[in-house]
């Protein structure tokens, strides 16, 4: 394992986030706060409780998950896409490092940034609503698994995209809608039976539900189903990346 190279990529990516601190950290915190103002205070005041917790506290795990998913995908996809776009990827590909080490550097940095942001949003949420975390270790496990899995997805998108438009396509048209429809702002019990069944096809439901379970001990689906789905996602993402590197897809003719 060429740890020096992994560390170099990792630190370079982290410093890129710090260089753009306003966009990287302040912006998600501000937008999450706005969600609390709009959904928590304005709408939440008309909804008493969901699954035994106040509406403001109910949406906290979903909002963190929304931010985690979008940030993981966008950070990791941009991280690998930009050197491809600028041509600087030649240096990565000609360095004495394995593909696994390249992924470790880029995805590790994207996941770290997302986890830090998740914790910042968690702290921000605490300023708006009181809540407790019943299973903090499980919460951290979900945070990490989701950040890593969606950073891997972002890495795949960054390699697949051949322009900025495609880079935005998956996050905007798939990730964000699935998250909004994944029980971020509501319990799926509130939906009619038909839509409940449809919603269960949305993988993000399992992530939000599992994460919410770690906070309040209740979720839309079983915690084991949530863990299974996130591990399945992780496995699929790793398999796709392994294939990308084996074939040299979009990287190595």
């Amino acid at each position: 394992m060429n740890l020096q190279s992994v560390k170099t990529i990792y630190l370079a990516e982290m410093s890129r986030s710090l260089r753009t601190v306003l966009q990287s950290i302040v912006s998600p915190v501000v937008s999450t706060s706005l969600y609390f103002v709009v959904f928590g205070a304005a709408i939440g005041s008309r909804i008493s409780e969901v699954d035994g917790v106040s509406y403001g506290a109910f949406i906290v795990p979903g909002l963190i998950m929304l931010m985690l998913l979008t940030q993981s995908v966008s950070t990791a996809s941009f991280g690998i896409f930009f050197p491809r776009f600028s041509g600087a990827i030649y240096e990565i590909l000609s360095a004495p490092i394995s593909y696994f080490e390249i992924v470790l550097g880029y995805v590790g940095a994207a996941a770290t940034k997302s986890i830090i942001l998740g914790l910042i949003v968690l702290a921000t949420a605490r300023l708006f609503v009181p809540f407790t975390i019943q299973y903090p270790l499980m919460m951290l496990l979900f945070l990490m698994l989701t950040a890593v899995t969606f950073s891997l997805l972002g890495f795949i998108i960054g390699i697949w995209a051949d322009g900025f438009e495609k880079l935005q396509l998956v996050p905007l048209l798939i990730v964000t809608p699935l998250t909004f429809l994944g029980g971020t702002f509501y319990s799926i019990d509130m939906l009619p039976p038909f839509w409940q069944a449809v919603t269960l096809l949305n993988p993000v439901v399992y992530l939000v539900s599992g994460f919410r379970w770690s906070f309040y001990g209740t979720g839309d689906v079983s915690i084991w189903a949530s863990l299974f789905i996130i591990m399945l996602f992780l496995g699929v993402a790793l398999a796709v990346i392994s294939r990308i590197f084996r074939t040299g897809y979009r990287l190595k003719p």
């Binding site: 190279s5 600028s86 030649y90 240096e91 000609s94 360095a95 004495p96 490092i97 040299g248």
Partner: protein, 335 residues
């Protein structure tokens, strides 16, 4: 602006070779065997290329656009997968022992590919770390000073001129102390002054034992710098030769005789010589091979015949064909 090339403390890192023979000038450092590359589109960019680069030399790879120069470099450096054949760097296969092979190579690409918002210092330090080398600020400082980039170390790359960006790419390639440096069209699009500065840098590197392989469109560049020259055409290496030998073997000389009195045509008495009347009859141009000149048969006979026919010569000069003419002829002949 001049480059303060000496001292260039950019010497290669100490590595053992795969054969365990250590560093020995003139020994093969890159061996390319039966290398072929067919792209997904079906285009064959390389056709069974065989090439050995010797340690410490400057090797220039010449060829027209699309000949396969960049593909060859890209396969050696690991940017493109070979379809067939193999490459060994200092004895290490560049696929099965890619770590050992790649850590010996520095690559300066053709395009100016930099991340615009990073500083010179950061980007060069990044390259060193990427190649697995521990941080060494002294070495980075030496590289930047040698390339007259030290004053610009805190500048972001977008603030630099094209020539400086090119030098940053060279600094990045030298940051991990490679044994072999690939320069893919290093002076493409740069002005004459900067080109000469680059040549000085490259010579300085060679003097320290770094093997240089450069591709170029500028024949002048190869003529000026290379020890050996390879000509690639349509994916085939049509010639590899010492520059001096190449120019001697293939170079043609022209002897121009400026006449006292103009002629209407080449006199019949001189018909046995390869003469052409030029400058509206004021000059006779005699073209001959360098090898024939060595035999001493051409010029002496011509001068004797001129004297016999009473033609007076007021001046004469000779001109040897440039590498460019050799190259053009070679490419044309193999077409």
């Amino acid at each position: 602006m001049t480059l303060s090339t000496p001292p260039l403390p950019l010497t290669m890192a100490k590595h053992g070779s795969a054969s365990g023979s250590g560093i020995e000038a003139g020994a093969p450092i890159i061996q390319v065997e039966n290398l072929s590359k067919i792209y997904g589109s079906g285009f064959q960019a390389l056709k069974e290329v065989n090439l050995t680069i010797r340690r410490g030399e400057i090797f220039a790879l010449l060829g027209p656009n699309g000949a396969g120069k960049t593909t060859l470099i890209s396969v050696i450096c690991g940017l493109v997968n070979a379809t067939a054949g193999n490459v060994r760097v200092d004895g290490f296969d560049n696929v099965s022992a890619y770590r050992e092979a790649r850590e010996r190579i520095g690559l300066v690409p053709q395009e100016l590919t930099n991340e615009a918002f990073t500083t010179v210092w950061d980007t060069v330090s990044f390259s060193r770390g990427l190649f697995g080398k521990p941080s060494d600020p002294t070495h980075i400082e030496n590289v930047l000073r040698a390339l007259t980039l030290w004053e610009k170390r805190d500048n972001r790359l977008l603030e630099l001129s094209g020539g400086m960006k090119r030098r940053v790419l060279i600094a990045k390639a030298l940051s991990h102390q490679p044994q072999v440096l690939f320069l893919d069209e290093p002076t493409a699009g740069v002005d004459v002054e900067l080109r000469r500065e680059m040549w000085e840098v490259v010579r300085g590197l060679r003097d320290q034992g770094v093997t240089i392989i450069l591709t170029t469109h500028y024949i002048e560049e190869a003529e000026e710098m290379a020890d050996r020259i390879g000509v690639i055409r349509r994916g085939e290496l049509v010639l590899v030769e010492n520059k001096a030998t190449l120019m001697q073997q293939l170079g043609r000389k022209e002897l121009t005789l400026h006449l006292d009195t103009p002629l209407d045509g080449v006199p019949p008495a001189l018909a046995g010589h390869d003469l052409v009347l030029a400058e509206e009859g004021h000059a006779l141009v005699y073209t001959y091979d360098v090898t024939r000149q060595d035999e001493g048969t051409g010029i002496a006979g011509l001068l004797a015949d001129l004297e016999a026919t009473g033609i007076r010569v007021k001046d004469l000069h000779t001109r040897q064909s440039s590498l460019e003419e050799i190259f053009v002829n070679l490419v044309r002949e193999s077409a």
